[in-house]
């Protein structure tokens, strides 16, 4: 999730650019629909939604509604900072977890809809000596405990993202904690897999920590034995992966209580000590009140949200590796735009 | 190893030619589209001038001896010591003990005059020799100055001092006096030939000024188009240029077909048999006196007579430089002495050429100026170095 800025934007913008060029072609094809409505849905989303939003949902939305679409990916927390500071002014915000949206209340929004979850998986390199253990576990005819024991071996090359900035990086550490308990593994195994102090604020074995965009590259280049990944990433990049039980994969809101039993101290560059508890990795979406937005843009933003929550939009996300949850509204219903409310009622 | 072998008391004849003191070389070097070839032996204490037009390959020869350009063929020996050849590893530059002054002097821009002069000495600028050389060349004022603050002439002299300070076994000078005024030019030239004699080292001096070559050098090598046309004493080259090309380089201004020439006193051999061309040098020509009847066999002074029309006259000091056009269109310069009665422009005049040099159809000298037969003239092919030397 922690992704775009400076150097990384080099990798991100080409896809965004191709979408906007597609947008102009689309408006030409669908007659003057876009010109008549004139609205642009400007969407800020967590980095893990980059592919699905820019390549599937965005273009589908344009075709279906005639509105234009621009997308911008980044870490949810970082995006929230940028929105609050007025550095960026998106009309729609899709975040991993509700906390970044809550940080924008009540000035920008007072509600959000939860519609999907993004479970953690273990992506692995099919060409290393450990691959067999993972492959068996993936097929269901090997024990998951063997996978964790393999990861605890000295010299095992594990990759994960930064718990200081990235919810996935935090969740991965807590997932190992939960796995240790659920699979009845020795208590020392958490330290053996993640390095000493991973849950107490040191970050653990720092050589395992990569920038989120770079992590996939290291695995694809065959330079890691296994890496933390969202199911959606593994699906989109065609990485072989091991699904984890719902009780430890942070993808099932029903297991929230179970997730909350794990915790870690977030390593910080500024010296503050913050403890976080496990919570489902869910996708929450809302529209943002931007004083500078035109009526047409507001209409486009609302339409995007309705499209995302519609059966078509949900199917796109499911295909890309997200686990669908029933559309659920949080916050004050009165503030929800009519078109979104209609979609919620429709689904019910 | 070679050196050790040569210290043997029993020397073979082939080796004896190498063992003489001095520089001997037989080189062929690629220079753009032409191959520069030259064969020469320069004795210890001797200075040989290389003259020729720009682009003749003069600097290339120096660079080849210094070891800065690879040899296409041939070899270079100094005081019996092998320096380089096309088929053996050359002696590294720092061990050659070759002193080279290039046209631009090549001073180190970050060092002052004294440090430049003393560069090749242990102790550098502090060495006593730096002061001596600076005094001899009038460089005391620029010892503390960097090259950027020196005049072109000062830079040349600092370069000269730097070369001689390092005690080279051969001195190679490329147009070393070109930026000096005539007075300093003469003084410095005399000083250089004195140093060369005193140190008993061979010296090669590139110049395009024959007069300078005559002053400083005991022999002149004429180079043109990459080929060495003649090597001889300066007077010999002036009198008996080996070819028409050399003649043009050493001051012959015009070449006239013999059919235009009326020989005077042919019995004394004013025109040698086989000659097709007569070389005319301004200082050998005079206007035939009007009051003297000039006719076949009636002249006392041997020579030839030319008839043409006066084209132009330009005052040159007390004298007058005149130009006469012959029937075939060729121009002959004439120097008219002061006091002589001057003809009108366009008037027909007769020129008296004293003992001209004569060339055959292939441009070779058949008779030197002054009526000397040409037997000894071409000094080509005196290959001092073995290994199948080819005359340039």
């Amino acid at each position: 999730m922690a992704a775009a800025a400076a150097g990384v934007s080099l990798a991100l913008w080409p896809s965004a650019a191709s979408v906007s060029s597609a947008a102009s072609t689309t408006s030409a094809n669908t007659g003057h629909a876009a010109t008549h409505r004139g609205g642009t849905a400007s969407v800020a989303f967590a980095g893990s939604l980059l592919a699905v939003d820019n390549e599937v949902v965005g273009p589908g939305f344009q075709r279906a509604t005639g509105h234009s679409y621009t997308g911008r990916g980044g870490g949810s927390i970082g995006l929230a900072h940028d929105i609050a500071a007025g550095e960026i002014t998106p009309g729609v915000f899709e975040s991993v977890g509700a906390a970044p949206i809550r940080a924008l209340e009540p000035r920008f929004t007072r509600w959000y809809v939860r519609f999907a979850a993004s479970p953690l998986v273990l992506a692995y390199n099919p060409h290393t000596p450990y691959a067999a253990v993972f492959r068996n576990a993936a097929k269901g005819n090997g024990s998951l405990a063997a996978v964790f024991k393999a990861m605890a071996r000295p010299g095992f090359l594990l990759g994960r993202t930064d718990p200081a900035t990235d919810p996935q990086g935090q969740a991965f550490i807590m997932m190992v904690e939960l796995a240790q308990r659920a699979l009845h593994l020795p208590g020392a195994i958490v330290g053996q897999i993640l390095g000493a102090g991973a849950t107490t604020g040191t970050g653990g074995n720092l050589s395992q920590i990569f920038a989120e965009t770079a992590l996939d590259s290291h695995l694809e280049a065959g330079q890691l034995d296994a890496a933390s990944a969202f199911l959606s990433q593994a699906v989109q990049l065609h990485l072989p992966y091991v699904r984890l039980p719902a009780a430890i994969d942070f993808g099932n809101p029903a297991d929230a209580r179970q997730y909350a039993s794990a915790s870690l101290v977030v390593p910080s560059t500024t010296g503050q000590k913050t403890t976080v508890h496990g919570a489902p990795l869910v996708i929450d979406v809302t529209t943002l009140h931007q004083p500078s937005a035109t009526k047409a843009d507001v209409a486009a933003s609302n339409a995007f949200l309705a499209y995302q929550l519609s059966p078509t939009g949900r199917r796109d996300d499911a295909k890309e590796g997200f686990v669908l949850l029933p559309n659920t509204l949080f916050g004050s219903p009165g503030a929800v735009p009519a078109s979104v409310r209609r979609e919620l009622a429709h689904a019910r | 190893m070679l050196l050790r072998r040569r210290s043997d008391s029993s020397r073979s004849r082939a080796r004896a030619t190498h063992d003489q003191a001095g520089l001997r070389f037989d080189v062929a070097v690629d220079r753009r589209t032409v191959v520069v070839q030259m064969v020469l032996a320069v004795g210890a204490g001797e200075c040989v001038a290389i003259v020729g037009p720009s682009g003749a390959g003069k600097s290339t020869v120096l660079a080849a001896i210094a070891g800065l350009v690879p040899l296409r063929s041939g070899s270079v020996w100094l005081d019996g010591r092998f320096l380089s050849s096309s088929d053996r590893p050359a002696v590294p530059l720092r061990e050659r003990r070759v002193g080279l002054l290039t046209q631009r002097a090549g001073l180190f821009p970050h060092l002052d005059g004294a440090s430049n002069i003393g560069y090749g000495l242990p102790g550098g600028a502090a060495h006593a020799r730096v002061g001596e050389l600076a005094q001899a060349l009038g460089l005391e004022d620029v010892l503390g100055a960097r090259p950027a603050r020196m005049s072109a002439g000062q830079r040349q002299r600092v370069g000269l001092a730097r070369v001689l300070a390092a005690d080279p076994r051969v001195v190679l000078l490329d147009e070393p006096f070109s930026a000096l005024d005539p007075e300093l030019r003469r003084k410095t030239g005399a000083w250089v030939s004195g140093e060369v004699r005193r140190r008993q080292v061979p010296c090669l001096l590139v110049t395009h000024d024959l007069a300078e070559a005559q002053r400083v050098a005991s022999r002149v090598a004429v180079l043109e188009g990459g080929a060495c046309l003649q090597v001889a004493e300066p007077e010999v080259v002036a009198r008996e240029p080996a070819t028409q090309a050399v003649a043009r380089l050493v001051g012959y201004d015009a070449f006239v077909g013999v059919e235009l020439v009326r020989p005077l006193l042919s019995a004394s051999g004013a025109i040698a048999p086989g000659a097709t061309t007569v070389g005319v040098r301004g200082d050998l020509v005079s206007l035939a006196p009007e009051n003297v009847s000039v006719g076949r066999g009636s002249q006392t002074s041997p020579g030839v007579e030319l008839v043409g029309r006066l084209r132009s006259m330009v005052a040159s000091g007390a004298a007058v430089e005149a130009s006469v056009v012959l029937d075939d269109g060729s121009e002959v310069p004439v120097r008219l002495a002061p006091g002589q009665s001057l003809p009108r422009i366009g008037a027909e005049v007769r020129l008296h050429v004293h003992n001209p040099a004569c060339f055959d159809a292939s441009g070779r000298l058949v008779q030197g100026a002054g009526g000397k037969p040409s037997a000894a003239a071409p000094a080509l092919g005196r290959a001092p170095v073995p290994h199948g030397a080819t005359a340039g």
Binding site: G7, V8, T128, A214, A221, G271 | L93, F108, A148
Partner: protein
């Protein structure tokens, strides 16, 4: 002299180019500066960056200087090929360099195995940071040094050899002093590149944090206000060397350039 309009135009362009820098100081709050820089270990990324850059520069000087010299003295076959290679490295986005380094020196590559035998890893280590910085800074140093050596006429080296110098002695007495201002510029440029290296670092050396990484992570974690002090720190640490080199180069040009005969400010 330019006219008033010309001077104003130059000022406008200059200010526009330096505008972002002005924004840095405008938005930097003293309290944020205090908070960010007084946190425990807040300065360790600075130390990491300085150390890694110093090592990277040491390596570059040791291996890049001879390469640059050989490139300019036609000691190598196909001189254009060597230069083009450096230009390719210069054109390569640092992020791409990082991604390619994963394939080249990753722990499971042949080189990675070799490094492991030396107890080194080019993935998320100080060594990896140095490697990333070397690759980002190398083309700047090598091309800069090559330009510096090109400015020294080969004829001068030949004269030094003919006057009895060994190669090394002539290099020390002639080549190096004459190339020194240019080499200093190249070094300063490389220093700035190494200190500011981010793209390749992000990919292969996320840890240990150097200054640019610290800025990025702080930005992610707490936002712009907390990250700006580190940007200022980067500027303060990385800038003096290039400025000194620039000043020195300018003075050296005045002292030994051909214009010196016109007037020496020392007189």
């Amino acid at each position: 002299m330019l006219g008033v309009v010309g001077v104003l135009g130059a000022v406008a362009v200059w200010l526009a180019l330096l505008g972002p820098l002005g924004a840095l100081f405008a938005h930097l709050s003293p309290s944020a500066l205090r908070t960010s820089l007084s946190a425990p270990h807040a300065l360790s990324p600075l130390v990491t960056s300085v150390e890694a850059s110093a090592v990277a520069l040491g390596v570059l000087v040791a291996v890049g200087t001879p390469l640059a010299w050989a490139m300019t003295r036609n000691r190598l076959p196909g001189p254009r090929v060597w230069e083009s290679g450096m230009l390719v490295m210069l054109l390569m986005p640092p992020l791409v360099i990082g991604l390619l380094l994963v394939f080249f020196v990753g722990p499971l590559t042949p080189i990675g195995h070799g490094l492991a035998r030396l107890h080194l890893s080019a993935s998320n280590t100080f060594f990896a940071l140095v490697v990333a910085e070397i690759y980002e800074a190398a083309p700047y140093y090598v091309l800069g040094a090559a330009a510096a050596f090109t400015s020294v006429e080969p004829e001068l080296e030949e004269h030094a050899w003919l006057l009895g110098d060994t190669w090394w002695r002539s290099f020390r007495r002639v080549t190096l002093p004459l190339a020194a201002p240019g080499l200093a510029s190249a070094l300063a440029m490389a220093w700035a590149r190494a200190m500011g290296a981010f793209g390749a670092v992000l990919v292969i050396a996320y840890h240990p944090y150097g200054l640019p990484m610290q800025i990025w992570v702080t930005l992610q974690q707490t936002g712009l206000a907390a990250a700006l002090p580190f940007a200022l720190l980067l500027l303060v640490v990385a800038l003096p060397l290039p400025v000194l080199a620039y000043v020195w180069t300018a003075r050296a040009r005045i002292a030994s350039g051909p214009d010196a005969s016109v007037g020496d400010p020392a007189l």
